[in-house]
Symmetry: C2
Subunit: 383 residues, 2 copies
């Protein structure tokens, strides 16, 4: 049911003809109300795609009636013509749904620097609108897939209210979000500013800590729509916690389906003086190509972990650090501890624990190994 699990939403996913393959490539998620409160977070990349430029303005009033999402083209670095295509898409959705174009968000994903065909988008929006259904969430989840091998969906239940979500993203998973498009829905009744605070709190510790390949997308967008159809006003903390669980679940699915990944690696940093420094240390490891290739080779090369964290400005003494991989402490106080041979890195889920012994803060970064399949997927095809 995904985004249509909460009451008040309809969705559709169709093949609009954007992808040459003929696969589904356009999704529509509509909030039927009675409320249309919304919040959204966007890529922090300064190179923002045209749909981001549009949606950043459209969300300002905290009201969103619908989200149009397309795969098959990022509509980024396509100039005024590209922006016009976004505008036309929103106008088409607004017209067919009887809402203002300014209440329609647009999300795109695919190759940068290629124009999308406005006629195709407009016809796709009409086709999707004609197929809107209260159980259309699964179709929408499939229509936004690019190199994803499976749709990503989530449902979290509250006390009389619910959160549903869909996500795509398997390439540029990185900080400040990633090429991820996420739509979350809820039938809880909450004003836009509460949604915004909850969404920022949730993404900060979930999507923002997913760093598959260190590359930041131009098109990331996470949108939260609230219909109020349950008539229930949940406690703000409870709602934010549930939203965080939903985002964490989707982030974990994105990590698990990252392009060409052989391992899903959790880099847990403990004993930092601040959460920000824990994140900095974890991210340095997650971005070390030497560390990532070692994990691909099932090599518990803790020297590459220490070489990576030595490049950060976080407070710690490299010669007091412990490193544990999959439960075996192989480095203690910056020196060899248990034999490397005791570490089994063959399971897909990999845990690297770095104890800095500098403070009490902790953070976990989710990443992937660097594999032949990653190189193949990103060199053999334009994306």
């Amino acid at each position: 049911m995904t985004v249509t699990a909460p009451a008040g939403f309809e969705a559709a996913g169709v093949a609009a003809g954007i992808k040459a393959s003929g696969a589904a490539d356009l999704a529509l998620v509509v909030n039927r109300g009675p409320k249309q409160a919304a919040a959204a977070v966007f890529t922090s990349n300064r190179a923002k795609a045209n749909p981001i430029l549009w949606s950043e303005q459209a969300i300002v009033d905290g009201t969103v009636a619908a989200v149009v999402l397309n795969s098959g083209g990022a509509n980024c670095f396509t100039g005024p013509a590209g922006f016009q295509v976004v505008h036309r898409t929103a106008e088409a959705a607004g017209a067919v749904l009887g809402v203002s174009a300014g209440d329609v968000l647009v999300c795109s994903t695919g190759l940068i620097g290629e124009q999308l065909d406005g006629d195709v988008l407009e016809a796709g929006v009409r086709l999707a609108a004609s197929g809107l259904a209260a159980d259309g969430g699964a179709d929408a989840a499939r229509a936004i897939m690019t190199t994803d091998t499976r749709p990503k969906t989530v449902v979290v239940d509250g006390a009389g209210w619910r959160i549903g979500g869909i996500a795509k993203g398997a390439g540029m998973l990185a900080p400040g979000l990633a090429t991820m498009l996420v739509v979350l829905t809820t039938d809880a009744e909450l004003p836009a500013e509460v949604l915004d605070a909850a969404l920022r709190r949730a993404t900060r510790v979930t999507f923002d800590r997913l760093d598959s390949d260190g590359c930041m997308s131009t098109n990331d967008q996470v949108t939260l729509l609230a219909s109020g159809a349950s008539g229930i006003h949940p406690d703000h903390e409870d709602f934010a916690d549930a939203l965080t669980r939903a985002c964490a679940d989707l982030a974990r699915q994105l990590q698990d389906d990252a392009e060409g990944a052989g391992h899903a690696i959790a880099v847990e940093v403990q004993g930092a003086v601040s959460e920000d420094e824990a994140v900095e240390v974890g991210r340095a490891v997650a971005r070390s190509t030497l560390f990532k290739t070692a994990v691909f080779g099932n090599d518990p090369n803790w020297g590459r972990v220490l070489a990576a964290i030595g490049t950060t400005r976080a407070a710690f003494d490299p010669y007091e650090v412990d490193v544990t991989m999959n439960g075996v402490r192989i480095c203690h106080a910056g020196q060899p501890d248990r034999p490397r041979e005791e570490v089994d890195l063959t399971p897909r889920d990999t845990h690297v624990l770095i104890e800095l012994h500098a403070g009490d803060a902790t953070a976990t970064i989710l990443t992937n190994d660097l594999t032949h399949d990653y190189v193949h997927e990103n060199s053999a095809y334009s994306s």
Copy 2:
């Protein structure tokens, strides 16, 4: 002739038995004077190997009589026992050469977190000292190789004086130097502070702009030894220029022999407001795994270039940027320009020109593509 091309130097390279393969693994470079002025720069990684901790102290007085370099082990994160091995190595060289151990620098390269055998190092130093020769530079260049496929050497002639050099490094080539060990020699007569200034000026625009895989080593060291044997005091500018040429030549050799590289990529940034920002922009591109895999696949994916530079804080408008690959401008003012098909990325030497249109500063970062061979070399073998 390499480091023994300038007058006043002897060198040797021997198989000390550090490498299980029996290949040459220990080099000795000796400055016979009459002067023994020197300068050195070290990795900026906070996780510094034991030979770095030793050499940073030994260089303080600006006098160096000899440099011992070993491959087959980094002697990093090996604790007090590892530091003791460095001390013993320097003592052994001092004793056999009749100089103070405090005038002996030590450089190591290889796997982190493994103890070196002090007996083996000490015997190796004696063996090397017995083989010192005025034409021993080529042997020294070979003995410091790890995954290098060929030795790297340079000779630059001045007016009656000369600079020679050897280098190794094919793995962690990154900012603040890389796993590179470099020894430069000159028979010019210059005091240590002039050598230091010239060396920092040269490395800043050469080795520091070589960023093969974004990973910074724990063991980088570049040492410059001046014998004064020519009796000539060159103009300081002339000397710094010649030293920069020597370093640029070696940096280019390191780039060309980087692990698993299919392309040697020069990322040239023009129109930045400052040289620092030009470097920041170039480095962001050089570190984008998506850009690097695209080049491996001969795909002129300029969208990945713009997505990478959009993550920097440098002053420019992404929608004014031009990108030219191998002479074809494929992006103009943040929009598609010439067709991608016109770009031929099959040559090994690849030129990416990024015009920011924000100022007058420029910088070039040297990097490599991300290939199957890179993943293989760094996953199948511990290093």
